[in-house]
């Protein structure tokens, strides 16, 4: 029994930490969607975020900098990589008013491809790996090396939660948040009262993309601790997008939602061990459907209840043209 609890705790902590990957992506996407933009480029942006962080570490290898600085540089590089993706997305969808779905999917394809290109070089270069491992130590074991799953719950977990809570506060309690929400709900109204619609869309989308990018970095550096982990970021990115719907566009709920998604995502792997039974590989794989199934149920429930507060922003996905006469 004791062993059951121990392994359950391990399952929970692992899942919770994995959930932070979703949380970064989800918080970023919520900010974007609150500005009225559906950014389906999030999976690609998260990949880029991981790649840029690793690339920065590779470039810094050999430089005599304290490890803390190395970590900060990696985080900044990751954020910047995501934000640049955000700028490209914004230029296409806000300035040129291109279709958001198509642009987003293109961003994902672009991001995943670029990441493969950057990362293919990573595991082979020896000096890169060294610097990488050096930084990895500080990402994963900021409080000294200990064996439990708690190790993943490093400072980036705290950072994810802080960002999510800060986003919730800004959205619901500040003037900036009110303006941002009005841009996503009804840009014409926001424009009429003198709110800079384009500015809000750009800033929210780029900051959102930057935050989402950190999710990729977190996954590589903290959760998995392996360069090769970049290969599975894309599918986690899609789950982040699904999580936005699941949490009904609320960053504070998304903290719980991301933990739940983590649990569900790992259920196929962990539950059999927990119960001491063996599942067929296909069943394990099939169980990965769980987060999507739950999201679908939430979608059905909210669509049926039709409560206005639980609907996506009214202006989501619709390009805004200032009306001329």
């Amino acid at each position: 029994m004791e062993q059951f609890f121990a392994s359950f705790l391990d399952y929970f902590l692992t899942a919770f930490a994995l959930g932070m990957t979703f949380l970064y992506g989800c918080t970023g996407e919520i900010l974007t969607e609150k500005a009225g933009h559906l950014n389906l480029g999030i999976p690609g942006i998260m990949c880029i975020g991981g790649a840029c962080g690793c690339l920065a570490l590779k470039l810094m290898s050999g430089a005599a900098v304290p490890p803390v600085l190395l970590v900060i540089i990696a985080i900044l590089a990751s954020f910047a990589g995501g934000a640049i993706m955000g700028v490209i997305y914004c230029f296409l969808t806000v300035t040129l008013k291109a279709n958001q779905n198509v642009t987003g999917l293109a961003m994902t394809t672009f991001g995943v491809g670029t990441t493969k290109f950057i990362m293919s070089d990573m595991s082979s270069a020896k000096e890169a790996t060294q610097s990488y491992l050096y930084a990895l130590k500080y990402f994963r074991y900021p409080f000294g090396e200990s064996g439990s799953a708690l190790v993943y719950n490093g400072f980036m977990v705290v950072l994810a939660i802080v960002i999510a809570l800060a986003a919730a506060y800004v959205l619901n309690r500040t003037r900036v948040g009110l303006h941002l929400r009005s841009v996503g709900e009804n840009p014409a109204t926001a424009d009429a009262v003198g709110i800079n619609v384009t500015g809000y869309k750009y800033v929210a989308t780029c900051v959102g993309s930057g935050i989402a990018a950190l999710g990729g970095l977190f996954y590589i550096m903290c959760w998995s601790g392996s360069c090769d982990a970049y290969k599975s970021i894309e599918k986690l990115g899609w789950l982040s997008v699904a999580l936005v719907i699941f949490t009904l566009w609320r960053p504070n709920i998304s903290i719980i939602g991301s933990a739940l998604f983590g649990l569900l995502y790992l259920a196929g792997n962990r539950i059999p061990t927990l119960l001491g039974i063996q599942f067929d590989m296909s069943v394990t794989k099939l169980l990965e459907i769980l987060p999507y199934a739950v999201t679908t149920i939430v979608l059905i429930v909210t669509s049926v209840s039709k409560k206005r507060e639980n609907q996506p922003p009214a202006g989501l996905g619709i390009p805004y043209f200032r009306e001329e006469r």
Partner: protein, 516 residues
Amino acid sequence: MNKQVALEMKQVSKYFGSLAANKNVDLTVYRGEILAILGENGCGKTTLMNMIAGIYYPDHGSIFVDGEEAIIRSPKDAFHHGIGMIHQHFKLVDIFTAAENIVLGVNDGKSYNIKEVNRRVGEIADKYGFHVDPKKKIYEMSVSEKQTVEILKVLYRGADILILDEPSAVLTPQETDRLFEILSRMREDGKSILIITHKLHEVMSISDRVAVLRKGEHIATVETASTSPAELTEMMVGKKVELNIDRPEPKNVTDRLEVKGLSLTNPEGIKVLDNISFVARSGEILGIAGIAGSGQKELLESIAGLSHPTTGEIIYNNPKTGTAENLRDKDPVAIRELGVRLSFVPEDRLGMGLVGNMDIVDNMMLRSYRKGHSMFVDRKKPRDLANRIVAELEVSTPNTHTPVRRLSGGNVQKVLVGREIAASPTVLMAAYPVRGLDINSSYTIYSLLTKQKENGVAVVFVGEDLDVLVEICDRILVLCAGRVTGILDGRTTTKEEIGLLMTKTEVKEESGNENG
């Protein structure tokens, strides 16, 4: 009188393309007065006010606020000068509360605190006598509550000059009375209030002065107390203009469509059509006159089967079988097959009837695809039809495969009307078919309608230009607030007569209220 000037417009003009929406308008607004801006549809009232509110920027002329020249390039600039406009279409965020909407975009340097906003909104509401809950969400509100929020939004920003664009258009008479009480209170508080309206009885009951616009020009500003509705009407419609539209005598006139006691209540519970009865005859053009939103759209849609009237009958005398059929029991497709055609031209020409991204041939097919018997659509006939329309109606287009949205407004309309006529209808209903068209295109459409009339079609023509209605129609039905206020002979009637009928019942209604 030592009235203080709040706002002054000097020689203000605004052009849209070559069309003058406003030409050399001079206007003075005093503190503590209600000034009514009166005019027909499309006379430039709203454009003029939009220039004060910062939606448009004047091409010529200047605006002075409190004696100093004001450059108003955006609504924000307007607020800066203490000017706020309440538009007809509310600009509110549905899922926000009243207070959130009111404070939106306000940056007073203080930190954002919704409780403080709620309190201040309550204060302003009490001062002028509004009833509003600052915490109520917009989507839970009635139209009049939403309007209240719009007014509060302007007052919260400290506006001294308020512009209301047809504020009573969406209100019940009781709500209008309440609004007018509030406006009077604001006037006493020293605010300047401009009301855009075309309802004469409102002008008479609330305003201190009236500025009359006609075709973009300022005709006169008069003291309300020293004028009469008849005088205002004359200023509004102006002298008769000869258009020389050919109007042959109707031949072989038979009753084609009989509408009896038709009433329709819209989803908001407002009676938009009230006991309408008339006859449309073949070989005749029946004009429908009325202020925008008097029920024209609903009437035509009821006949076409797109709206479902609450009571009444629409009898169609089928020329093929000689039997009378009630269209109320039929669906739109069945009605179309009987030969009743609606060519409705809404504000957005492409909104109803044509698909912008498709070419002329494909748009022709929208009406014929049902006819095919094989699984493949017949493209040949629509192509021939498209070519015929382009040739006969002189549609200027590179070829029939150009997407319709790339054509100019006039050409789009020709395609739309041409397609409906090609189906050889027995009843042709055209609503605002010349809206936004230049003179030549308009005349093409007029002659098309007249030609249909000569072919024995019962033509129903909803128009806004009274000059045209008087020249082209054999009979004119006047609608006012969903009621028929008169059916006139197009050959003998005058614009003044129509103009008075267009506002008639409202005067009656008001005196009724006073009695009761």
